[in-house]
Symmetry: T
Subunit: 154 residues, 12 copies
């Protein structure tokens, strides 16, 4: 999450377990776009909208907690796709509450149309907004929405 | 929902009970933008993206079912904010399944951060995607996402 | 529900939301017979069995309640396919209880072999009998059964 | 709900599905007083207490939502007997919250001594008070209590 | 509960735990009227309506059971505010059923708009009616309603 | 289940525990028609419709499983009234699935209007249709409906 | 259950699965008395109290149903220890209801102090009384109690 | 509980709330025998079986706890009919466990055939045995069973 | 709770049902220290820390409610071990809320490692802190913690 | 289960309802190997490992209970595939506990990846081990594992 | 997981939290065999059956997810004992689904005979088979079964 | 956890996710004391009481499991504040059980007065005691209590 420069709005993007496999993992569910391609696209959009953006992906719950801690003082908002941890991790929810910056929960798939154990997010109650089901486009919409919110509240 | 013209992508926007009061109803929760302003903004975005757009708002569950029936053959996709009916109406879900066009569920607020009885949608399982929590901007993001989906699948 | 004539047994048939689409809606589930064809067949059977028959279909819960009220004093029994409202509507159940005529609950599909939320009917507890799963034939069997019951109790 | 005159306290009385049948519907449960008789009695009491009163009854959920919207700016308080919708309708609850006037929930019967599905009201959490079980007298007590509350808060 | 005189209708008023603190206990919830003031007001109303009235308040469940036993043969009806015991006490419910006189359940606050554990009454199923949410006025309305019921059934 | 002859449609009728007592067992619930009378009536209807029919009744779950096994290759469809086992027996459901012939679940009474433990059937999810509540007539309607289904699919 | 003689009160004792092993099966739970010894003791007590007694034990649910049917017209009351079937068998409950004679549910152990799945009996709701926890003595007490009841009602 | 004399087996009988009304309270449920008559009968039986017996009845949970404490060192076993407290009182269960003497739970009615909230006893898990449903005779059977148990274990 | 003197911090210690038996009751669970010894130890600690301390123990819920009322204006904080009532008593919770002084919930044993029905406290939500599992030492730690809290907030 | 000879380890194999159909019943789920082929294979493996083996298959719950009783004193261990009864039969569980020999629960399919009602076994809590999902090979693995356990404990 | 050589079947063995302590941790539950000894035994069996085998053990959920990712393209099947994570980890389930190779769930103990929270596996629904309860032998049986499955499907 | 010296009692203190942020994270909930200050205070208290103390804090569940393993043979007891993992982690509970040393569960806040998902600890059932709600003082009280316990058991 290093390398923020100057005084522009800074957005951190946190991805959780198994998202490093994106593009090859169960492509009939998650699509063929890779995480690198998503990040590239987000960089372009951020640049258009005068925002700076940083990325992190971890499989471990504790490492995600640590990454969130590191955002304190360096990010103005976040996109969080915690993958399977979204359905259970109070530790990640606590970390997000602790740093007190607005975040949008993002999912590639419409989690509410999947297996019962995926239809509930413990993070959503702490998020400002949620976007899911547009595949890789979910991230871009979430970024636009978050920047719009931050401008409005500024 | 009348008045589609020519051969461009057509999107219907259905709003449910109490959304006619938008802008004046509990503004600390729902904001001060009116439904008319939202519709105006969506017309601009649709026009930019070469789409046509139509609107309907009803307080009655049966009238919403009827409005959805009327979309058959006249709309290529829909944005649906069924308001309080989103949490219980199998009839609306059936109507959406019956006409078999892709729709995005939209909410002004992040319903997953509200009272327990609002944290579940019976429509979401039939939707292709869901956007909530960005206030009036939720509609615009949903429109952009839906058009992107329709293009991709075309 | 108008037009009962003379002193023969009179049966009302009430259909609920989305049943107007019958024949074209999800035909792999609901079949290709239209509601008009079902009504035509029921007229023939009723006539054979010396009964008179009337029909109503509404998408709105309140309109169905009203239609049931109108049966009071004009119908001796009813076939009720309340569609999706069968799983939740106490108002329709109350209306049926209020007019105190025997009715048979009808469904095209075997609702007990479908999604969990459709496996329970709040109307069934007030019905005298239930027929489901025979497609359009369900109505005819229900009509025969109801007339047999009415004769027996007469 | 039309026709409020001058500057006195104005009370709206909203009745829900099946209450138009009052007096003839299951009289062993609901008594033999008709809705017209109840309204007449409430007019007398209102007049004694220098209040104005208006009435509405609908079988449809959407129409009740609309009637509640129409009370905005024209009523100072309301008596609401939503009938069977009291047990499930978030849309009516939202409408009542949207117009932000105090209302008393009323039922003819003691709903807590009836079938399990009637022992819970989704409206009660938004009401200021609840009266049930006194038959037609429930309305009169609710009116007296509401006027007493309004005076106290004035 | 001593001191009933002559042959007029007699009403007993039973108050449960913590109600002796009324007026000073959490006044933002329960108001500033004391129990003595409520009793005084009820005496006036009873006298107007030609009824006699007696009072009891206990913190102990067993003492309330005993007080209810003592009402047998001496009271024609009762107002019961069992306070926190209303949510759990089968013993009090049994005592009320044992003496077989009609009673109205009373609460100062609208218990259905409070914490989940207070939204259910085990007494309500045995009561003839329920009034709650009008503060000290709840008692007066309950008394009027009960006397009206007793007259009607006489 | 012995004695099928020639090449016509063959239907097996399986009855479960306590149905041998029909006609004398709790007649206010189950009616006064005996099982023998029902079987006689079904023979007449089957003969009219050019079908052959066979009967079995057992009190034991294992014997019913065995009877269902014996239907393999000898029956084209079945009517199954498993009595109390309908509410719990996965073994009977497995046997019906194993022989893979269409069956209709039948009950004399409307099981959905009875005690809670009888309102659920574990067989219904494997059945093609369900008829209940018409007393002895339920069997006849089920037979007509099943034969209609078999013809349609032939 | 054969061999009732003359016109004295006749009691049937039905034992369910695994009770044939009594005395050797898990003796630390069920004691060392055998079923034969219990039956001998019951014969003595019955004889003292001028009653006749008969016995049956089956491992199969269907055989128990059949044995209960056979009691019709030949027994005036029954002691039923259905063993593990007590916790689940609606078929046995139905059989007991069908023959309409009073029965006492008996268990050697205090089933309410055992594993959760044994703390509930589906038969108890149809029984007139229940005795459990006295080991082999449970049967004797149940017999005395049942004869006392029959005398009282005679 | 005073007055145990000499060295014979001593049994205490504890009765809970509302049992003082026995004989006049809901006689269609609880019978017409009074508590004094039951105690008299138990004295006779105890005397026959060379046991001493003492009695206590309280409406208050705390007083019952105290009465149980007083049994320590003075009673060898107990019959406990805690009335409505049987369904909820951990304090009484704790008191019984604290004094560590065997007790039999007794009820006049078959609590498992009554309303759902009465079908569960929190005391039963600590009891050695349970007798219910024989009316006043339940006590006598429980006494015989308990004395038999005490002799067996001596 | 009498006898507070001068202007030092005053702490009340309330003990509930069965705690009078401490030291002899189930010593393998609750230890051999008596309540008197605990009180003596608390007096020493209080004196060291310049606090005054008073004690009360009751088996009755109503008496505990009364004792809490008596603390109003005479105690600055409290230690509450409500014993078995901790798991169910809203009346005690209400009393503690009514007098609005900070209290610490205390248990000898670790209630969360015991039977399921003891793993939940209805008081804990109103307490400032909770200490359990240290046997008699739990009280001393709770006292030290409470005094530390009171000093901090002073 | 007859015919054990000499002093070698003896294993009984019990199969429940519908397993007689193996090889032809729903082969896409259960495979094409017949029960006879499985038994033949187990005989070979047992012989290799110096064990004797016997077989039983029943559709009836009571007959399985009886077969288990018969294993007492004649078998040292058992493989049990109770089929659908595995999900509900306390009677079979009791029988297995009564004879007190170690048994392994076996299933052809991975029951935990099937319909919800098959994901729970009431027998598993009494078994020493469980093998499922390897089709016919499950039995062989279970046999090897059980013999290894018996040797270890010998 | 490094060091696969040549073209033979390759099996990965993944062990989860606390399994590194095997042999010394709660030996009365988990036995005295160490993880090293289990791995040694599996190497011998694999070698006999012409398979190659690799091992990994991690305490962290994220590290297990990573280890599963590393199996992609290098393993043909897996044995997975996820320890306590088996009961909750959707992230591990997702990782196993993502790499799409067949795996067998393994446990030393019979998890279905342990505490309630261990009786459910979220992994089992994605596994091809499950073996538990044979202690260290569970792994060997699972290996044999998995290799048999792979051969069969090849 | 390194560096234990000599033969005094040694206590390990384990802190879980987000506790590294203490003092700055949501100070209105968790206070302004930092983790370093708490550790400093504990060192002083330990030194007074002749105990040695060591500290560890991790955000990852697997690392906490590892830290607990490292305590084996080097610590005599532990204070464990597992933060959000306290509500869900069986892996940490297993690790604590595996090393078999007594530990006290500690929380800064009264977790039983917070959001529902925080009111339950899966660790508490394995702990000897629990202290929560005193802020940073909770640790000191837990240390004193634990040392007292260890001395008592020595």
């Amino acid at each position: 999450m290093a390398g923020w420069s100057g005084r522009v709005v800074k957005i951190a993007v946190i991805n959780g377990p198994n998202l490093n496999l994106l593009g090859t993992r169960e492509p009939e569910i998650y699509g063929t776009t890779t995480l690198a391609q998503i990040e590239e696209r987000l960089r372009v959009v951020a640049s258009e909208l005068n925002a700076e953006i940083g990325f992190a992906q971890y499989n471990g719950e504790g490492e995600i907690v640590g990454a969130i801690h590191d955002m304190r003082g360096t990010a103005d908002g976040a996109l969080v796709n915690a993958g399977a941890y979204a359905h259970s991790s109070l530790a990640i929810r606590d970390a997000l509450a602790a740093i007190a910056i607005p975040f949008v929960e993002v999912h590639l798939t419409n989690i509410f149309a999947r297996e019962p154990e995926r239809r509930r997010s413990v993070l959503a109650g702490a998020a400002v907004a949620l976007v899911c089901g547009f595949g890789a486009v979910s991230y871009e919409l979430a970024l636009r929405g978050l920047l719009s919110k931050l401008k409005q509240d500024a």
